[in-house]
Structures are given as C-alpha cells and as structure tokens.
Assembly symmetry: C2
C-alpha cells in the first residue's frame, strides 16, 4: 500500500482545456494534502482532433514537429504553452506545478488569452528563473523531445481527452467534472469515487451523462 502512495499517477492535460484545469487543481490538492504523487504530462487536443490523425493510437501529425508560428492560433498557443511547461520542468518539479497552475488559472479562471504574454506572466508568477527560461526556449530541441515523449505515451494509451489519469496499477480514465475543487475533503471524496469506479468488479468502462 505504501508503494502505491509513492508511485506517481500520470495526469495528462492540455492548457487549452477547462476540465484539465480542474483536474490539475484536484491533483494539486491531493499531492499537497494527501501526499499522493502525480506526474504532469502533456496531451494535445489539437493533435488528437487533427484530421490527419483518424487513428488515435497512431498519429501521423504531431504537435511537437510543428514550427513556431505555424498553424492555427490554438495550435500555436498550445505548442508554446507545452514548450514553456517542459522548460519549467527543467527547473524542478515544484516549478512545473507552479507554472502549470499559474497558466491554467490565467487562462480558465481569469479568462486570459493563451498567448506569449500570458505564458511569460505565468512564468513570473510561478517564480521561475526567467533568464534561464528564455535561454531554454530559444534552443528548444530538448523541450520538443520531452513533449514528444508525453505525446507518444498518450497516443499509445489511447488518451482522447483531458484530464486523463493513469494510476500506478495501469487503470486509466478520462475524468470530466464541472466543479472546481480546492478543499481536501472534496478532493479526497472525488478521488476515492474515481478509484472505486476504475476498480469496480463490474468492469465499468464508461459513465457519461447525455448533454
């Protein structure tokens, strides 16, 4: 039981997605208050929904291969945000969480645009070493390779939306919920319920409300 508390749960998210924001907030409460371990990982909705990628598990179009400034605004924004997130992670795990939360909140709580200005402001708010950040971003091959590793793992798993959590025991599911949860009791209740669904003897594959 101790092992499962320390092995990380992978949390796939996209900065574009308001449900991913709530998922990262949930994980942040759980890691701080319950000492659960989560690993922040990137999944791209732009890539997942790209018309050249009909087979989710075998994409031919990859976001990390796109040039800066190419493609649609959401494509550019998501690539910039992911590369900055990978750069933040090079400054440590806490830096990655601080930057990720700051940028998700700027976009989804405070309704800012996901653009270079918002990304830099989030980096400042997160207390990143900004000089080092800019140097890393200016020569981004390492960042793109780290992003590629996340995108490849997500594709292999068949991730289709965010947030998707992958438990240490391999059980995984997309978890979409509408309420922002920042209290420990609420976070624990949701996390336990989610685990019960994944581990139910009934083999639950989907619970989805009609909209």
């Amino acid at each position: 039981m101790t092992a499962s508390r320390t092995a990380p749960t992978d949390l796939y998210f996209d900065f574009l997605c308001p449900f991913a924001w709530r998922g990262v907030e949930l994980a942040d409460v759980l890691r701080r208050e319950q000492r659960l371990s989560f690993r922040l990982r990137h999944f791209s909705l732009v890539q997942g929904n790209h018309p050249e990628n009909p087979d989710r598990k075998n994409p031919t179009w990859w976001l990390h291969e796109q040039g800066a400034g190419e493609g649609s605004p959401s494509q550019q924004a998501s690539l910039s945000a992911f590369l900055a997130g990978q750069a933040a992670a090079l400054q440590g795990e806490e830096a990655a969480w601080a930057f990720t939360l700051a940028l998700l909140r700027a976009r989804h709580e405070h309704k800012g645009e996901l653009d270079e200005g918002t990304i830099r402001a989030a980096a400042g708010e997160a207390g990143l070493d900004l000089t080092r950040l800019e140097a890393t971003l200016a020569d981004d091959a390492v960042l793109r390779e780290a992003l590629a590793a996340d995108l490849r793992d997500a594709a292999a798993l068949g991730v289709f939306g965010t947030p998707t959590f992958v438990l240490p025991d391999g059980h995984a599911a997309y978890l979409r919920f509408s309420k922002l949860i920042r209290d420990g009791t609420g976070a624990q209740a949701l996390w336990e319920l989610y685990g019960e669904v994944l581990h139910s003897g009934a083999g639950i594959e989907t619970i989805k409300r009609p909209r």
Copy 2:
C-alpha cells in the same frame, strides 16, 4: 425515500447492443431482489448514428417511420425487435421483461441472429400469447406510435448510447460495463456506485477509459 424507490428509473436500451443486454440484466436483478422500479424504453442506435441525424436532439430520420423490410439488415432487425417488444408490453409488464430478456440473451448470450425467427422464439420462451402477438404485429400502428414516444423522449434527453438510465430525480447517464452481473450483491454495489457518481458534489460528467 419511499417515493424514490417506487418511481421508475427509465432504462433506454437497444436489442442490438451487448452493453444494453448487461444493463437490462442488472435492472432485472435490482427489480426482483431490491424492489427497485425500472421502465423499459427503446433507443435506436441505427437512428442515433444515422447520417441524416447530425443533431442528436433533433433527428429527421426516425426508425419508427421506416417500412418493414426497408433499409439495412440491422435497421430491419432493430425495428422488428422494437415492435415485438412494444407488442409484448401490451401483454403486461412481466411479459415485456420476459420477452426483452429472452431476446437479448438469444442475441448476446447465445449469439443468435437478431431476426424474425429469433424474435418469435423469444416470444415463445417468454410465454407470450403468440396468437395475440401476431395479431398486434399485423396491424402495428399502435406499436409504432409507442416506439415513437420512446424515441422522442430519448432524443429530447440527448441519449447517445445504451444502456442509459434516467433516475426519478432526473440524473441520467450512459453506463457501459463489461461484466455480466446476475447476483444481488454485485448488482447493488454497481447501482450504488453509479448513483454516487451521478450525485457527487464534484459534478462528474464523464468517466471513460481510453480504448
């Protein structure tokens, strides 16, 4: 609390769907052993996935308007099965359950074809009045109107797959699970977990495993 035990939960299903079969088996255990009340209702996957119905809530192509013997084999089979199900319901609630279970089991447990022969065999196994059944089916305007009512209610709700349960309090969700559950303990555990998800304070909208 007594009221919610007696007000029925609507159970939308399609004879074509193996997950709907498991959902009807689940409901049958719960109604027999827990005295929960379920109402069998028809949702058509052929209609829901029809290319002329891009807007799930406002279909233009309706299964109940199709002629007997028209369309694809699965369209013909599902219309025949639904009309027979509606005819069985005219012989009483227990007749409807017996027929529905017999036909779902014939198709999904015993891997029979969903065709006129299997439908008649299920009617016999369910103990229906077969003479009355044939008379009802021969003049099927009433059956088609009853099917239309189910299809309209499903469309208004946005049902997209089966089984979908609609609780008396209005909470509703598609529930897909892989294990056949015929024991009371297992059925109760799954049903309580499903209810916890629907009533969670987190506003859970979707839990879905990647495939």
